[in-house]
């Protein structure tokens, strides 16, 4: 997050009165919510068109309002999908990636209105409703993504405490090496506990464990418990090292949990988008095939 001095005020002579302001504007508030306003206008127009016309026998995708909303919706879906390509080129200006992302978010949300009105609230077990359901899945996962991107990075930063991810791993490695040396005088049973702790891959956890942050079978914790009764110097040293290892491990796990939450929605969002594009293609072609 960049900070700049307020322009036009010479630094000298102002002393403690220097003012700083943040120049950062996230993709949600980009240009004073420009895309939120545009998307809202689109929704209002769609709702007005839906309720001010009285199609017979009932509203559906095959009235002129339905076809218009469907065309807008389909174009929007294709354009929104292109963010996946567009994001690989980071540019600034009117069509900066940030502007594009802002439009992606708000126009994507407006699809809830546009596409739902396009259906005329007619649903069934068919490819048309499949496309709608996939679209809603994409939008809901995107909503989760917005929440994650707007709240989790600060939590991630707090958790790191100026450590890099590499340092988190290095810290555990350093403790592991010391543990390996310090545990040399231990008996077989205690040694096995230390080996189990050292052998445990911190990154071996699956999706649910990473998302929940609960590790009931943590080998480091088990080793700490196992060595708690020993009072010789070597055991106490190993135990201290294990406790430090546990603390580092917990930090790493919190980091993994936050990262998992930041990423997991994309594992729904992206495949569901591709599935949606396929279902949308089938939806449109099938309508014209049996025209």
């Amino acid at each position: 997050m960049a900070t700049v001095q307020k322009s036009g005020v010479p630094e000298s002579g102002r002393g403690a009165n220097r003012e700083y302001q943040s120049s950062h504007e996230g993709f949600l508030r980009h240009r004073g919510f420009r895309w939120m306003k545009i998307a809202t206008a689109l929704c209002v127009i769609a709702i007005a068109a839906y309720f001010l016309t009285d199609p017979k026998p009932r509203p559906s995708g095959s009235t002129w309002v339905g076809y218009t909303l469907g065309t807008i919706g389909a174009l929007l879906i294709v354009w929104l999908s292109l963010l996946g390509i567009r994001k690989r080129a980071i540019t600034e200006g009117r069509w900066s990636l940030k502007a594009w992302t802002s439009a992606h978010v708000y126009l994507g949300l407006s699809l809830i209105v546009v596409a739902t009105l396009h259906t005329g609230f007619q649903f069934g077990w068919n490819v048309h409703t499949l496309a709608y359901a996939l679209m809603m899945l994409v939008i809901l996962s995107g909503l989760f993504g917005i929440w994650a991107y707007s709240t989790l990075p600060s939590a991630l930063s707090t958790n790191r405490e100026q450590m890099t991810q590499g340092q988190m791993i290095d810290a555990i490695r350093a403790l592991d090496r010391q543990l390996n040396d310090a545990a040399q005088p231990l008996e077989r049973a205690q040694s096995d506990l230390v080996i189990a702790a050292l052998d445990e891959d911190p990154f071996g956890a699956g999706l649910l464990r990473r998302l929940s942050g609960h590790y009931p079978q943590c080998a480091t914790q088990a080793a700490i418990m196992g060595l708690a009764g020993e009072h010789d110097a070597a055991s106490e040293r190993v135990e201290k090292l294990l406790v430090r290892r546990k603390a580092q491990l917990e930090r790493l796990r919190r980091q993994m949990r936050l990262k998992a939450m930041l990423e997991v929605w994309l594992y729904v969002h992206v495949p569901a988008t591709m599935a949606l594009l396929a279902a949308l293609t089938a939806h449109i072609i099938s309508v014209f095939y049996y025209w």
Binding site: N126, Q167, M274, A275
Partner: protein, 578 residues
């Protein structure tokens, strides 16, 4: 106070060389230059990088002296306090210094160089493990998999099946049920699994010819040229929409599917909304100046007055359409007063009460249904029949022979002439006058008085067909082809052949709500209600009135069969909430 510095070096063959040396001092220096106690030849290490001071109790204080810090247990720092018994690991550039306590109490500093520079930048592969990449199947693979699966199941299979099917086969197209956007109408439900029955050609909209393969005898609403004229200049919006529709290969306007919109669930297809009619009829007069029809757009707002076909000449039974606004009179050939018959205090009511239940008459006087009988379906009323509906009072008996009354044959003048001219009929002897008073009251007796009673001399042929005769009570006598007779009576079952009215649907109403019979004294009064009466309950589709019956054109009119169609129509089982 001894530091034991253990330097471990690895030879080219991988063999470790371990060198121990003891430094007996409180403070040692660490850095790249050779005068340091621990000499670390790495460019990332400063010349004098840090100092390490040993305090009592094995406590070790490490502080960076230059601008760069060092790593303690993987974490960057500039100073650290270490308990040598607990140990720690310090990093200086690529060198690692492990702090521990040797068995003799000396602080053991094990120095070794790690083999890669990756410890500085961090291992990218390792960092990647924080993400979900290795935990979940790849996004790209799942994306393509799902996309292709959907395209295959919902697009490729039905298209290939449709393109390669045998048209004569009874098997439908595989997988096209997933394309069905909504259930078919009640009439077409049996075709639900046979999409290709109507969708004959791919990418060609359903054609009227296809509909006509089954619906062979459907009439056009009117001559196609007149239909096109009536449609006239559509509003700009409609023209634009139709040009778009034509660009996509739709036929119309006027194609079957323009009105009969399918796939709207199990509904009836035959009652399209008024919009489909009003498109033309709302401005029919301007588009089709020679039409006899008035403009109609909405029953409540724009609909011409009814024009029933009224009998205007009883002799020829000619019927002429006349607007109810023009106060039409009918000439049905009858002489009849509804008011006289329905008056609850009049002579008719009295006579009906005398006859009573035998003919279904109630004490309150005659009711409409005593004479007007519903048809079987309840839609309209049968013509009044003299024998059934009038004769209880208007007797046609003219003679009595042996307890049997002889009656005239209603409606047969020749028979009437024959009956009244027959030899065995003696009109001078009134029927039933052969009884005599007894004793002194008998003719010739003391109290007998021969007054001249207004004797009825029986039914005379010459009087029967006169204005005051038995026929003249209800009929208008005339001469037809030189013979005596009466003006023929016409009782129209339907006045409005191009519309539909269902009496059964209105049975909750009283007859007099619509038919002003109680005040009608002449049979030439046309007792039909006008559009104003209908509008007290019925409004058009555009109305939002909740206490009215929203009525589309199709409630009363047919499209394909304007002239005769209503005859085929079944009574509507419409629930009307008022």
């Amino acid at each position: 106070m001894t530091f034991r510095i253990r330097q471990i070096e690895i030879t080219a063959t991988g063999r470790e060389i371990v060198r121990d040396r003891d430094v007996s001092t409180d403070t040692i220096a660490i850095g790249r230059s050779t005068e340091n106690d621990i000499h670390l030849p790495d460019l990332a290490v400063e010349a004098r990088h840090a100092t390490m001071a040993l305090h009592s109790g094995g406590r070790l204080e490490v502080a960076a002296t230059g601008s760069l810090g060092f790593v303690r247990d993987g974490v960057d720092t500039r100073s650290a306090v270490i308990d040598s018994r607990g140990g720690a690991e310090l990093g200086f550039g690529t060198y690692r210094v492990t702090v521990s306590q040797d068995t003799d109490g000396a602080v053991l500093l094990t120095v070794r160089q790690t083999d890669s520079a990756a410890t500085r930048s961090g291992d990218l592969e390792e960092k990647r493990r924080f993400s979900l990449q290795g935990v979940l199947p790849g996004k790209r693979m799942v994306s393509w998999g799902l996309g292709l699966l959907i395209l295959l199941a919902f697009l490729a299979v039905p298209i290939i099946s449709h393109a390669t099917r045998d048209p004569d086969s009874k098997k439908g197209v595989i997988g096209d049920a997933s394309w069905n956007p909504g259930g078919l109408s009640l009439a077409h439900r049996s075709l639900s699994d046979r999409c290709e029955t109507c969708h004959v050609k791919a990418f060609v909209s359903v054609r009227d010819e296809t509909c006509r393969t089954c619906h062979k005898d459907v009439h056009d609403h009117a001559d196609p040229q007149r239909l096109a004229l009536a449609r006239g200049n559509m509003p700009l919006g409609d023209r634009i929409l139709w040009s778009v529709a034509h660009a996509f290969g739709k036929k119309g306007p006027g194609a079957c599917q323009d009105c009969h919109i399918e796939h709207q669930g199990p509904t009836r297809l035959d009652a399209p909304s008024q919009k489909f009619c009003s498109d033309c009829h709302v401005r029919l007069k301007s588009n089709l100046p020679d039409t006899r029809l008035g403009n109609a757009g909405d029953f409540g707002k724009l609909h011409p007055q009814f024009t029933p076909a009224v009998v205007t000449d009883a002799m020829t039974r000619k019927r002429t359409p006349v607007s109810l606004d023009d106060a039409p009179r009918q000439d049905d050939g009858l002489a009849f007063s509804h008011k006289l018959h329905l008056d609850p205090l009049g002579g008719v009511a009295r006579m009906a009460a005398n006859i009573g239940a035998e003919r279904g008459y109630r004490p309150g006087g005659l009711q409409c249904q005593n004479c007007h009988h519903k048809t079987e379906d309840g839609v309209r009323f049968k013509p009044v029949q003299m024998e059934r509906d009038c004769e209880a009072c208007h007797s046609l008996a003219y003679d009595k022979v042996g307890g049997i009354f002889r009656k005239l044959h209603h409606g047969d003048v020749n028979q009437l002439i024959a009956d009244l001219s027959a030899r065995d009929y003696h009109p001078s002897l009134p029927a039933g006058t052969n009884r005599e008073r007894p004793g002194q009251y008998a003719p010739g007796g003391l109290y007998s008085f021969n007054y001249s009673a207004p004797a009825w001399h029986g039914l005379q042929l010459r009087g029967a067909l006169s204005k005051d005769g038995i026929c003249g009570e209800c009929h208008r006598p005339t001469t037809i082809n030189g013979k005596l007779g009466v003006v023929p009576v016409t009782q129209p079952m339907r006045y409005m052949e191009h519309g539909w009215f269902d009496h059964a649907a209105h049975k909750q109403e009283k007859c007099e709500s619509c038919h002003a019979a109680k005040t009608s004294t002449m049979s030439s009064d046309l007792l039909l209600p006008g559009i104003k009466d209908c509008r007290t309950c019925h409004v058009g589709e555009s109305s939002a009135a909740k206490d009215k019956v929203v009525s589309s054109c199709a409630m009363c009119h047919g499209y394909h069969t304007t002239a005769i169609g209503s005859e085929k129509r079944k009574p509507m089982a419409t629930k009307i909430a008022l």
